[in-house]
């Protein structure tokens, strides 16, 4: 049962209430649109996150296989000696984008495909090249998954918040305003009827006098 808004029964309050109702209805439409867009984005992000997770696991699986073969071929000591010189700083372009009012992080691995990786090409085999290539792909997949996972969390939190606002508008604010407007309209009609009855009574008294 919607509750009456506490207002003085005056015409000015009725006009104000009507304005508030109109604003609340407009906001409700926007909030509903936003909720539907956020839900669409959330579902898409959920699907993409699942795909990215699967891709990352596949990449890791391929990478460990290639690394095991390379280690077996060269021996751990020789491989470690070669890989010492391959350390490089990662460059990630980090920014944000806006999806229907939600700030979502955007991560992109820069220069992930290098021509020269730092190890000796004459002392190593193509297995090391393959391992390095797969490791770079894994890094790209990690950055992608990090972005999607965070987007997923942020969108979920925003959907919860927007849903609360939408429900409050739909079940409390708008019905409350409508009930109060109806109550005030009935009150004014009652006043008019009372006024008419009073005037009739006065007319009778004047006619008698």
């Amino acid at each position: 049962m919607p509750q009456l808004v506490k207002v003085r029964p005056t015409k000015i309050e009725l006009v104000k209430l009507k304005r508030r109702l109109s604003l609340a209805q407009r906001v409700q439409k926007i909030v509903k649109d936003r909720l539907s867009i956020l839900t669409m984005e959330f579902l898409q992000t959920a699907r993409d996150t699942a795909e990215a997770k699967k891709r990352l696991l596949d990449e890791f699986s391929k990478l460990y296989k290639a690394l095991s073969i390379a280690a077996g071929y060269h021996g751990y000591m020789a491989l470690e000696k070669e890989l010492v010189s391959t350390e490089a700083d990662l460059k990630i372009a980090a920014g944000a984008r806006n999806v229907a009012g939600v700030r979502i992080p955007s991560l992109e691995l820069m220069e992930h495909r290098r021509k020269m990786r730092g190890y000796s090409l004459t002392d190593t085999s193509s297995w090391v090249d393959r391992t390095a290539e797969l490791a770079e792909e894994s890094l790209r997949a990690i950055a992608e998954l990090a972005e999607l996972q965070r987007s997923f969390e942020l969108l979920a939190a925003e959907i919860n918040r927007t849903k609360r606002i939408s429900n409050a508008l739909e079940y409390i604010v708008i019905p409350g305003l409508q009930v109060t407007i109806n109550y005030l309209n009935m009150k004014f009609e009652e006043r008019d009827r009372e006024e008419k009855a009073r005037l009739k009574r006065v007319k009778v008294l004047v006619a008698r006098g």
Partner: protein
Amino acid sequence: MPKSLQDEGAAAQTERSLYEAALQNCLAGELRIVNAGLPQSQQRLAHLLRQEHPHVLCNDGSTHVFKRRELEYLASMLGAEEQEALQLPMLIELGGGQAEAAVICQAGTEQRVVSQALGMSVACEQRRIRLYKPQLALLRRKLRTTTVYLFSSRLVA
């Protein structure tokens, strides 16, 4: 008027003004949030491709970053002249609880981009390309950073 009634009236007035203020703040905040992330101005694709970190400034002072991969995808489907004509981010207009959205089409290049991204022909009427929600999901999947939502009060009103 008796003093107790006066007190009751004043209390009701205070309660009402607090409630009204909170409601108005909440509603105004919602209206402010939805379009805060819109870009101050759009930039040409050719110009963005030349930038090291392609981005545009938003109305709320933040930046909207484009993914280079997406820009290169767009560049792959357009010629040099069209790259100069295409303004990014593309605006997707929503409003009025309708089942469809509209991509704002300024130069006609958007029509070609949307058509190629969706793999179907689309029509541009009154500078708007009308899209249904499933098409919108597909478009957003391919062009995440190069499209933004615009909640139009004109359509809502």
